[in-house]
Amino acid sequence: MAAIQTNQLVKTFNAGKVSAVNGISLTVEAGELFGIIGPDGAGKTTLFRLLTTLLKPDSGSATIDGLDMVKDYKQIRSRVGYMPGRFSLYPDLTVIENLSFYASVFGTTIQQKYELIKDIYCRLEPFADRKAGKLSGGMKQKLALCCALIHAPSVLFLDEPTTGVDPSSRREFWDMLAKLKTHGITILVSTAYMDEASRCNRLAMMNNGRFIGIGTPQTIVNEFDKTLLAIRGDEMYRLLNDVRNIEGIEECYTFGDVHHIRLQKDTNLKMTDIEQILVHQYHHTNVKMEPCQPTMEDCFMNASKKER
């Protein structure tokens, strides 16, 4: 049985003027680590709030562990763990008070579930008596994860858990998720960082309330069917605008310290042609170009272009 199954979920705001989630159908198998990547405003948080029964859909349906999200919302709530994007534990209670409070509302204790949170909680233990509001960002994130896990949920929803956390804590966090997977917990995680996507079993790319691509990180990269070039020159900003004017180039965007150029699928444009145009027509100097492997971000750019 699928852990999460949605069918054409739709949620609009402002009397239908803003559609945050626009017909999402998704199946997540039990025990999967499923990622949803997309920029801010893509509708990720609304999707999470629907799946955690905080919002009712305008249309469509969804089941969590086979339970209907509207009819059985009460049962769903005791089976899922939710970690919202914003820190939302009690800042005026201590670490241990927060944790034991959430344990008690689920009718359990920290001792009973200690095995599950042990690896994460051991880092927090030195701060057990510190007010939750006074913790560092990374520590807050660990505490929030502990509180979301304290009742041993079968499905865990993590809404942008790594936003605003330093790179080493981010890596650490994904290691923790990988460990949790071994306990058989299904994890749905959203992120705006494309580089994190490769840590998921499968992922969906989301933009404007829709999924624009779904698959394993490998299949998504493999499905990239165009030529991708990395370019650099002396005047990077002028270069960006000039490349965009060249016929046969689908898109050019900054990528780290280079620009990525994606050629149109059916174009005859060659790398040497582009260099010719840039050097002779636009008088660029030191133009260097090389083919490159698409990353998740390139795939996302490609997919969202298709969507438009």
């Binding site: 955690t52 029964t53 905080l54 919002l55 009712k56 919302y73 009460k74 709530r77 005791s78 899922v80 763990g81 939710y82 919202p84 914003r86 820190f87 939302s88 534990l89 009690y90 800042p91 005026d92 209670l93 008070e97 409070f101 959430y102 008690s104 509302v105 689920f106 009718g107 007010k131 509180c147």
Partner: protein, 368 residues
């Protein structure tokens, strides 16, 4: 309902962890009960009086002496002309002018009518009207006394005597202290739970609670029980301060007061919940609550008597539940009334409490 216990424990912990609230909960009732009644008073004392004595006779001197002897007036200036005295009023140095006309003594002796002119600064209308009233009394006592000395029978041989019932010394504190007890309940049972719920909304903690099996009833009950008990406790402390310091409610039945207080705090809690349902930010909640508080304070007879309002406003007070609780508090504290006398107020308070609770619960939805 097991979660309710843990929610309550959480409320207690949060309250104790707050560096400010527990102290305020002690200071607030003490301040309200021990300081306010001495300051917020409508008793008029120390009225500054300017006298324009154009008669300068022994009679006028006697009258002035008599006025000075009363503790209501400070004789500020003795002026020659009315205009001079008026300047004193304009400067704010005096509140009342009394002008004794030339030839007062002579007219009096001849049995002619005498006119004494009083002008009052009505910027502070209470001081003006009360002050001139006191002055009137002194002058009429004086003239009666004078007539008697002349061996005349007073022109109007009826002696008026007034007895003030329930508050025999017209002590304004008897009027104020029950009102201040109501203010304490409004502040503690209306404001605190409302702000607490809206803060949970602002912090997003309510959302974290909403994905747990905790029901909406339990969540709200935890707020109501905690702040209700806290409110009643502080009300009790304040009530006993009122009883021991100001000797209110010498005959009243405390049970009647508590029955009213419980109904009223449930009403305040319901209105607070209602406001929190529609407030997204604390700012919004504070402002809305303040609007209700001002309405309650000024239109329910808490500080100013309902009888002195314009007629339409008097009808309006019937839809303000604090009006009934104010009446219950004053009647019990000053007259020793019981349930039998106050059944109408209790009934109305109950009806409003029930209506407001239903509205609050219906508008509180867990699922949007």
């Amino acid at each position: 309902m097991a979660a309710l216990k843990y929610l309550l424990i959480k409320e207690v912990k949060q309250f104790k962890a707050n560096p400010f609230l527990p102290r305020l909960a002690v200071v607030f009732p003490l301040m309200v009960m021990l300081v306010m009644p001495w300051i917020a008073t409508m008793d008029v004392k120390d009225v500054n009086l300017s006298v324009v004595d154009q008669d300068r006779s022994s009679t006028s001197e006697k009258l002035i002496k008599q006025i000075e002897a009363s503790h209501y007036f400070h004789l500020k200036t003795l002026n020659i002309t009315y205009e001079e005295a008026l300047v004193e009023v304009e400067k704010g140095k005096s509140d009342l002018i009394m002008q004794i006309p030339q030839g007062m003594e002579r007219d009096w002796v001849n049995g002619q009518p005498v006119e004494i002119f009083i002008a009052a600064n009505a910027v502070n209308s209470t001081k003006g009207s009360m002050g001139s009233g006191y002055l009137n009394n002194i002058i009429s006592d004086f003239s009666t006394e004078l007539s008697r000395q002349k061996g005349e029978v007073a022109a109007f041989p009826v002696k008026l005597s007034t007895q003030f019932l329930y508050n025999s010394h017209l002590n304004y504190r008897y009027f104020m202290v029950p009102a201040l007890l109501i203010v304490i309940l409004i502040a503690l049972c209306g404001f605190l739970p409302t702000f607490n719920i809206v803060t949970e909304k602002e912090n997003g903690t309510i959302e974290q609670i909403n994905v747990t099996p905790v029901g909406k009833g339990e969540f709200i009950a935890s707020k109501l029980i905690f702040y209700g008990v806290l409110g009643l406790f502080i009300f009790t402390v304040a009530f006993f301060i009122g009883k021991s310091v100001y000797h209110i409610a010498p005959y009243g039945n405390i049970g009647v007061i508590y029955a009213g207080a419980v109904l009223f705090l449930l009403f305040m809690a319901a209105i607070g919940l209602f406001i929190s349902n529609f407030s997204i930010t604390l700012q919004q909640a504070v402002f809305t609550m303040f609007f209700f508080m001002m309405t309650f304070m000024l239109l329910s007879g808490i500080f100013t008597p309902i009888n002195s309002m314009v007629t339409w406003a008097q009808y309006f007070t019937y839809i303000l539940p604090p009006r009934y609780f104010v009446n219950i508090m004053r009647s019990v504290c000053l007259k020793g009334s019981g349930f039998a006398d106050l059944w109408f107020d209790f009934l109305m308070l109950f009806i409003f409490m029930a209506i407001m609770s239903v509205i609050a619960v219906v508008t509180y939805r867990k699922q949007q």
